[in-house]
């Protein structure tokens, strides 16, 4: 149990209060209310940490903290109390960890924003929106039911739209914001449909209730088809939010927003929400009871999309010259890793459940472990990129180079981030990525398709190391190719960077004192041991393979971009290479295909409907109208001559009378007052007269 439950509400209310305060009074506050936002976030962080520590202490290492619902209030009451929809918060291992992670990263990014946004216009708007953004993410990860999750999820969607389009004077930014909103909307609609289906099936939206009702409803109300459909619909929402394969197009364009917003979206909030949602969807993927047949199809779809997207995005990152877009593609790729890990882990767990064996949650914890690590190093990379952009005023890596001298701190921390992203020992990326790959390989023994996905993952590891160090070498090595005078950022920006750099080192090793990261997130069963210690030789080998390809990629990048021993042009020299390069630069023509789809199919349909409307429906309406005119002409004649004649005669007489009567309405107050006085006199006379009459009458009677 959490002592002081209201503390959990305060975690949400702090940034919300900051949003309201800055939104209303921001223009009067110094720094556009930035200090308020930072203060609120710091408060949230401290309280989150408090909650997290309580969860750890009471759960214990290897023990379970009983998920606790912090009751709020009934939002939509129902006749059956258990069916009413409540606003309440859920604290379990996962949400406690996410709360700490989100609030900590948001805090660092807000502090960094104080420096980065210092000279921008519209700071109150910025700080109000990021505060609301943080509220949305904190609410998403602490929601107790799917509806509440959806609400906060949509708040995040709105904020991402507002923040990506923060520089609303730039048409690209406005277009990118619109794109982000519309593309994620497709996923959100799927999510909404999923929530409706859940409600229809379970008559509740609370996670715990669903989990409890699962076995009793299967296979009656909850048919196997529905059990497959629900997680896929939820995953559809996650695909939109986390920019996975079909809906990935918005994320690279979202780089039009301020870099801090990118960091916020990529590291702490938005895209991580998709992974979080999928992790929550495990209650469908891995049922508690062995009586329920797990939806293997859905799991495979999740894993396949993850495995495909990871390579797919990594290839596009290789050819991009925009420092932030490279990082954006890497985000898509890394998130795909997490989905791959979740899918593979779910497959193993589901198999265990259906066989009635003890559940091995290695994949689940590996994916969330990667989420945890990725949050730190991706925040670091984005903020570092922001620092670089701050220094050289461009996003294009071709205009950078040799920046390690003017930007000593930034270059070093970026190196840390790059090593972590590439997955080099002992940086954090190595542990989690290797573990995901091991789990995927393990799942291969159950379904050989996972071997293919593992191969894709290993290839991605190579590409990741390559493009990461391509980025680093192009930016910080060689000669400076731009025209600015780069300078190091102020301490308010570099200090958060250094803190994050420290975390890229520490967060990977964090699993050791925890005796396995799974103890932190915990689904169904605590983890037995950490992979590198006391695991089969096969796993060490797999880790070695992923590390090896990463080193290979690093070496290739070094050869091509640092020493220039292998010129980059050699890859595009052949026709095939040129075609691939062109394809990658055009992002597999997917964006173009979406545009073409919109132009031809959507507009074509609209035009056809328009034609139908104008010609057919309007024709019918016009025909009816003409017929009506003919009838109306006939009745009009009758009306004018017979009816109007009578009416006019009456009205003429009325007008004549009223003309005479209105002479009495002189407009002079005193003439009215005369009438009033006369009336009073008459009343008094009546009273006297009546009393006289009465007296006279009674006199007669006597």
């Amino acid at each position: 149990m959490i002592a002081y439950e209201w503390v959990v509400w305060l975690i949400l209310l702090f940034p919300l209060a900051a949003f309201v305060l800055i939104g209303v009074l921001g223009r009067y506050l110094p720094e556009g209310g930035g200090h308020v936002a930072v203060g609120a976030m710091a408060g949230s962080f401290v309280l989150s940490l408090y909650v997290f520590i309580q969860v750890l202490q009471q759960g214990g290492l290897g023990g379970a903290f009983t998920p606790q619902t912090i009751e709020g209030f009934v939002w939509i009451p129902s006749l059956l109390p258990e069916n009413s929809i409540k606003i309440s918060l859920l604290i379990d291992n996962l949400s406690a960890l996410m709360l700490v992670l989100v609030s900590f990263l948001c805090l660092l990014i807000f502090i960094y924003s104080l420096g980065y946004m210092h000279e921008e216009e519209g700071k109150p708007r910025y700080y109000a929106e990021v505060s609301l953004f943080a509220t949305g993410m904190l609410g998403t990860v602490s929601a107790d039911n799917f509806l509440q999750l959806l609400i906060f999820w949509e708040i995040m969607g709105l904020c991402s739209y507002l923040l990506i389009g923060f520089w609303d004077r730039k048409p690209e930014a406005a277009a990118a914001a619109k794109k982000a909103f519309l593309v994620t909307r497709i996923g959100d609609v799927l999510f909404l449909v999923g929530v409706l289906v859940i409600w229809n099936v379970f008559a509740t939206l609370s996670f715990g209730e669903i989990q409890r009702k699962m076995a009793s409803l299967y296979p009656g109300t909850l048919t196997p088809q529905l059990l497959t459909l629900i997680p896929l619909l939820l995953f559809g929402g996650a695909v939109g939010k986390s920019a996975q394969f079909p809906l990935h197009a918005w994320l690279p364009d979202a780089m039009e927003g301020p870099t801090t917003v990118s960091a916020l979206i990529h590291a702490a909030t938005m895209v991580k929400a998709g992974v979080y949602l999928t992790a929550r969807a495990f209650i469908f993927l891995v049922p508690l009871s062995s009586a329920v047949e797990p939806p293997f199809t859905a799991i495979l779809v999740i894993a396949a999309i993850g495995g495909f997207t990871t390579l797919f995005a990594a290839t596009m990152a290789v050819v991009n010259f925009d420092i932030k877009r490279v990082l954006a593609f890497s985000t898509i790729s890394q998130l795909a890793y997490m989905f791959l890990g979740l899918g593979a882990g779910a497959y193993i767990m589901a198999t265990d459940v259906s066989r009635g064996e003890a559940v091995d949650s290695a994949g689940y914890s590996a994916a969330l472990y990667h989420l945890f690590n990725h949050a730190f190093f991706k925040a670091l990379l984005f903020l570092g990129a922001g620092s670089v952009i701050h220094a050289v005023n461009t996003n294009d890596m071709r205009e950078m180079g040799g920046l390690s001298k003017p930007l000593p701190v930034t270059s070093k921390v970026m190196l840390f981030g790059a090593l972590a992203l590439a997955g080099i020992v002992p940086f954090s990326g190595f542990f989690s990525k290797g573990e995901i790959l091991s789990v995927t390989f393990d799942a291969g023994s159950l379904n050989s398709g996972f071997y293919l996905l593992w191969a894709l993952g290993v290839g991605t590891a190579f590409l990741t190391a390559f493009y990461t160090f391509r980025l680093w070498f192009m930016t910080f090595r060689g000669e400076y190719r731009g025209h600015q005078h780069p300078h190091e950022s102020p301490p308010v920006m570099t200090v958060p960077l250094m803190i994050l750099a420290g975390f890229t080192l520490v967060s990977g090793l964090l699993a050791y004192p925890m005796q396995g990261f799974g103890n932190l997130v915990f689904f169904q069963r605590p983890e037995a041991a950490f992979p590198l210690l006391g695991v089969p030789f096969q796993h060490l080998l797999l880790e070695g393979v992923s590390m090896g390809v990463a080193v290979l990629g690093l070496a290739l990048a070094w050869a091509v971009y640092a020493t220039k021993r292998v010129p980059a042009e050699r890859f595009t020299a052949s026709r095939g290479g040129a075609f691939i390069h062109r394809m990658l630069t055009k992002r597999y023509w997917i964006d173009d295909a979406y545009d073409a789809f919109g132009r031809t199919v959507v507009y074509g349909t609209a035009r056809a409907l328009d034609w139908f409307d104008r010609r057919v429906i309007d024709g019918i309406v016009n025909g009816v109208g003409r017929a009506g005119v003919v009838v109306a002409t006939g009745t009009d004649r009758f009306d004018r001559q017979v009816v109007d004649g009578a009416v006019n005669a009456i009205s003429l007489e009325t007008v004549r009378t009223s003309l005479r009567l209105r002479q009495r309405q002189t407009g002079q107050v005193q003439s009215y007052a005369w009438v009033v006085v006369l009336g009073i006199v008459v009343v008094i006379a009546l009273m006297f007269g009546l009393s006289f009459l009465q007296r006279w009458w009674s006199g007669l009677g006597r």
């Binding site: 309405q665 002189t666 407009g667 002079q668 107050v669 005193q670 007052a673 005369w674």
Partner: protein, 100 residues
Amino acid sequence: MIPLQYELLLSAMLLCIGLYGVLARRNGIIVLMSIEIILNASILNFVAFSSYSGDASGQVFALLGIAVAAAEAAVGLAVFLGIYQTHGTIELDKIRFLKW
């Protein structure tokens, strides 16, 4: 003690004089003054009856009446100033915008 009839007679006379002013005079401000006289005639009744019945609430009501009368004078004058500024006159027989 003054006989109550005398006082009522005085009050009635004041009321009639005020009523004459309201009805006969054409100047708006004189009409307002006449209204003050009418109000005072009624306040006089309050005080007199309070004195006769030995109940202080009549005096309280008289105070209320005085306050109301003062406020009424202020508001009425403001109205006539407004009329003067828009119509250039406060002669009631020339102010005919209540007509029709």
